[in-house]
């Protein structure tokens, strides 16, 4: 079934537009290092300005059809959000330190999570514009509760067998509630393709486990023979006997992290390719799963080897790849979108997700 044919053609023929990123690693290095320096000198206060500058650099240098994106958040608001979130986190940790009994507060966190998610998505959407029209997000509490609390638990309990279902609900939820001005997005990720992606991921896990395990074993054996000859210590030898086990566990952890990246990239492709805007324009995504895993792994290695100095290069590299792999099948010119008043979201919720490293964008 091809939904494209059902869509009436616009004023012009369909155009295949691709996102592109025009920033460079050197340029971003300058912004990054100055951000870091000023954040250090101001004991972290500048991080709010730094974040806005970083976002504006990445959004502003991302182009589609001759127009760029823009990030609009005000640093002072970000700073206030950060102070509130940090205050709450410190308070919570202090209470738990005083008595573990206070861990029960986690229940309230879980109950508040859908609300925080909606407010955070709304804020981030509202702060993003393209061609003078802003994105918006109108979530519903129970929809978020089902998609982001119930379904992940279901996926976990089913040992991943129902993970594609959970991914489908998550992306459909986000797509369905996202808007661009008065136009709405709509995502209907097909379950069959998502299961195909899971199958590919399982094959990838097996291959990754074999490779990672072998590397881990070789490394531990290498270190073992080297150190054993050196020390000749019975105790030390016993310690090393646990080496293969440690290496195996480490290998499994790495394999799991890589498979997650592999799986998520596949889901992104499927979800984007089944997302429409205003019922006529369609998003496209063709992220190479292996290629993307490779980009993240090599980024990590280079970043560690250069004690973080190549981090700007790595950030630019992955962003550029994702932008280039994303596109829009436009059913006509993009000049008839109209902005509207929409929920502003909550900066504290957005900063909470930022600080906790919770991120639904890929």
């Amino acid at each position: 079934m091809n939904t494209n044919e059902a869509v009436p053609l616009g004023r012009e023929a369909r155009r295949e537009l691709s996102f592109s990123f025009t920033g460079s690693a050197t340029e971003y290095f300058g912004i990054w290092i100055v951000n870091l320096l000023l954040s250090l000198i101001t004991l972290g206060i500048y991080t709010a300005w730094a974040k806005v500058r970083r976002q504006r650099y990445f959004y502003g240098n991302t182009w589609l059809d001759g127009h760029n994106f823009e990030y609009h958040a005000r640093p002072v608001k970000i700073l206030i959000g950060r102070i509130i979130v940090l205050g709450l986190l410190v308070l919570y940790n202090l209470l738990v330190l005083i008595s573990p009994f206070f861990s029960f507060l986690l229940i309230f966190y879980i109950l508040a999570f859908p609300w925080i998610l909606n407010k955070s998505m709304a804020f981030n959407a509202r702060m993003t514009s393209y061609r003078n029209v802003r994105l918006n997000f109108r979530g519903s509490y129970w929809g978020a509760f089902f998609s982001f609390i119930v379904m992940p638990i279901v996926a976990l309990v089913s040992l991943g067998i129902l993970a594609p279902l959970a991914s489908r609900y998550a992306y459909n939820y986000i797509g369905r509630h996202l808007g661009y001005g008065t136009a709405r997005f709509e995502t209907q990720a097909p379950l069959k393709a998502l299961y195909g992606n899971l199958g590919a991921t399982i094959i990838f896990v097996i291959l990754a486990a074999v490779v990672c395990g072998a590397i881990g074993l070789a490394l531990s054996a290498g270190i073992g023979s080297f150190s054993y000859g050196d020390m000749g210590d019975e105790e030390f030898a016993r310690l090393l006997a646990s080496g293969p086990l440690v290496a195996g566990l480490l290998g499994a952890y790495v394999a799991l992290a890589l498979s997650y990246v592999f799986y998520a990239a596949g889901v992104r492709n499927i979800a984007y390719n089944s997302t429409t805007l205003d019922g006529k324009h369609r998003m496209t995504s063709n992220v190479g799963r292996l290629r993307y895993v490779w980009i993240l792994v090599s980024n990590l290695i280079v970043t560690i080897l250069t004690v973080g100095l190549m981090r700007p290069w790595a950030a630019v590299r992955s962003w550029r790849y994702l932008a280039a792999s994303t596109g829009l099948l436009a059913a006509g010119p993009l000049d008839d979108f109209v902005d509207e008043a929409a929920p502003e979201g909550n900066v504290g919720a957005a900063e909470f997700f930022d600080i906790e490293g919770i991120d639904f964008g890929l």
Binding site: V34, L94, Y130, L300, R311, D335
Partner: protein, 341 residues
Amino acid sequence: MIEGRYFPPASSAVTSAVLSGTPEALRLQETGGQEPMMPVLQSVSDPVAGVPRKFTFADGGVFEAAPGADVDGFLGTHKSFFSRLTRFEANLKYIALAAMVTIGLLFVAYRHGIPLLASGAAVMTPAPIVAAIDFGTLETVDRTLFEPTELPEKRQEALRALFAELSFAAGKKGPPLQLLLRKGGKTIGANAIALPGGTIIVTDELVTLAATDDEIAGVMAHEIGHVRERHSLQQIYRVLGIGFMVALVGGDASQLVDDVVTQASAVQTLVYSREFETSADLYSVDLMSRVGRDPVSFVDLLDRIGKDDEAAQETYWFSTHPGMKERRAAVEKKIRELAGG
């Protein structure tokens, strides 16, 4: 005069346009338009490398300057903070300098700044909070780890007297010191624990294992050192500080980078822990010398506790305490110093 393009209020439609006049009295002429518009300027986006500057007008219309247009010249803002910053960020010489200063600062903050701030914060932590931490922790460990002491009443009295002697010599500055005796059982065994609010727990097993009272007193003095020098609070604040620094550096890092750095900083807390143990050992030597007891004998007791554990002899990167050989050497050195001075 700036060339660019114009978006009407709340619309994605675009026409090429020219902006002229002054910031207070703007004239916007759309290409092919009839009369020029007189928009009221609300804000102009700050400069960032590669990003076109956008003029937002009071009615919601937006004028986007063409790439490379001299917006700062037009507005007279080339000396504003972000204009200077943008030029700074694009200058290779300056950013090389900034990189060196940043690396230096990170190193100083890590070696001196965080420990200094942590000890300051530890002193400033209100006493009721510290007392509450003691109360909560004690309640938890009593329920999960310890059992009531089974030492004879007379022995308990003697230990309390010993503790009173030491705490008197330690002085009143800081949280009030209190000794609690507990049976450690299988999980804890022979051990002593100091809570930040001045509660010191010594287990029956440790008392039984000791050959002399001086050995026990040395361990008590070590724990008093933890309390008086506020080690547990400092540890908490240092870990927070490291976490904060990691967040600063990795502000834009991906989850993978974040994970790795977090694991690495966990090793750092062990380094801190060993530092505090050494410091408490030296405190113990000092206090024991002052009350005229044998300052080195507690090391024998620690040796006996760790005798089944060969790994306790050496310092490893995953150890919470320094190796016993290292501790004994440090204690003996301190004693020689005290004797010499």
